[in-house]
Symmetry: C2
Subunit: 210 residues, 2 copies
DNA sequence: TTACCTATCCATCAAATGATTGAATCGCAG
DNA sequence: CTGCGATTCAATCATTTGATGGATAGGTAA
């Protein structure tokens, strides 16, 4: 059995998929209440009723976006984990930061949406959540900071969160920070990687040798 | 001459001030579009028209909140700068993180609003901005990373941003992260300070001795 | 052809929302 | 007390916004 979302992911040219892709971007930029179904429909070039025909209501579409992003992020984390598996901690961090940064700069919707869920409230009784807790525990294990993904100590969770939050903040804040430090996009991306490594590699490697 | 905002800040019991205080909290929680003037009025316990009488439109109130928060944050940064002035870098970071964390946990509206401005767009042509660029440059100078607040190199700006973003993220994300690491509020605050120091102090002190 | 299903749009509705108007009400100087 | 400005509220308006119903076009099977 295939869910509507799976169907949409399979054929990126389908109307369902096109709507979903635009919804990801706009929900990420403006948040749930800042986005109107008309904005999405207009960007896709269709009527609002077509949007409702494919995805039901605004809330349903939003939930679908959350699930969609969850899948993409989870998949990328698994892929990254495979690449860095077995390497020494410093290298693991170095490679993971490079890869995740590149990926999220190419898909800023992910960082945008995650930060909106962290910090913002919505006025409706939404319940679908990002799998951030599991992802965080997974990363902790992948970084060698915990044996299994169950019972990761709070201190370790916080350290992993610090890394992920730093990345998301620089990605989602590009429009704000890029003009602020007066560099172009390419240089900004390089600066983000550099800064993330500058901040996080000493912390974790110092801890290792203590 | 006193602006309306200044008047409101002087007498915290005035209706203007009460509205402003509630607006800070709700705009911080729900963002601009997620907040309705009715929500604010209801929390204050007044009619919407009273809100309009004192503050004009929703946008005007929002802008007032931005300016208000800007003042508070700027003042706190100046105060912190005085306290840590002249101390060695490690101590400066230690004390500054403690004080800013405590302050922002007591005033989470500040972190909430700043993050909303970083990451989210609004559908109206707003222009009032936070003084984040100047603040960032000031902090860089205060930390001894730059001689004067003019011409702070991009690398330095990014490092300071990394610190500030980490703090804001943990403050604004309390409702999300606190249940996630399964600790109570008090323990969470302690964990935030600990994590911030764990991450940022090695980075900056290593850099100093290199 | 006919019947039917899918996908799309146009017109429209009902609720939410920002804003205004005019009528009370309050406080206080004279 | 009287008068008046400042403040507050109930009622209402105009627009936005999420959502729906019905019509239309296109394709497909019998």
């Amino acid at each position: 059995m295939t869910t509507p979302l799976e169907k949409a992911r399979k054929d990126p040219e389908s109307m369902k998929a096109r709507i979903l892709a635009v919804a990801r971007r706009i929900f990420g930029e403006y948040g749930f209440h800042g986005t109107t179904t008309r904005m999405i429909a207009q960007q896709v070039g269709i009527d609002i009723s077509t949007l409702h025909y494919h995805w039901g209501g605004k809330k349903d579409l939003y939930e679908a976006v959350v699930v969609d992003i969850n899948k993409d992020l989870g998949q990328k984390l698994i892929e990254t984990e495979k690449v860095i598996h077995g390497l020494p901690l410093t290298e693991r961090l170095d490679i993971a930061i490079d890869r995740m940064t590149d990926y999220l700069f190419a898909n800023p919707d992910i960082s945008n949406m995650i930060l909106f869920r962290y910090f913002g409230k919505t006025r409706y009784e939404g319940n679908t959540d990002f799998s951030v807790p599991e992802f965080t525990a997974d990363i902790a294990r992948s970084m060698g900071l915990a044996r299994d993904k169950k019972n990761v100590p709070p201190e370790t969770m916080m350290k992993v969160l610090a890394v992920m939050n730093s990345i998301h903040a620089f990605i989602a804040g590009e429009n704000f920070f890029c003009p602020m430090v007066k560099v172009d996009r390419e240089r900004y991306i390089a600066l983000v990687k550099e800064t993330l490594k500058f901040v996080h590699i000493p912390a974790f490697t110092l801890n290792e040798t203590r």
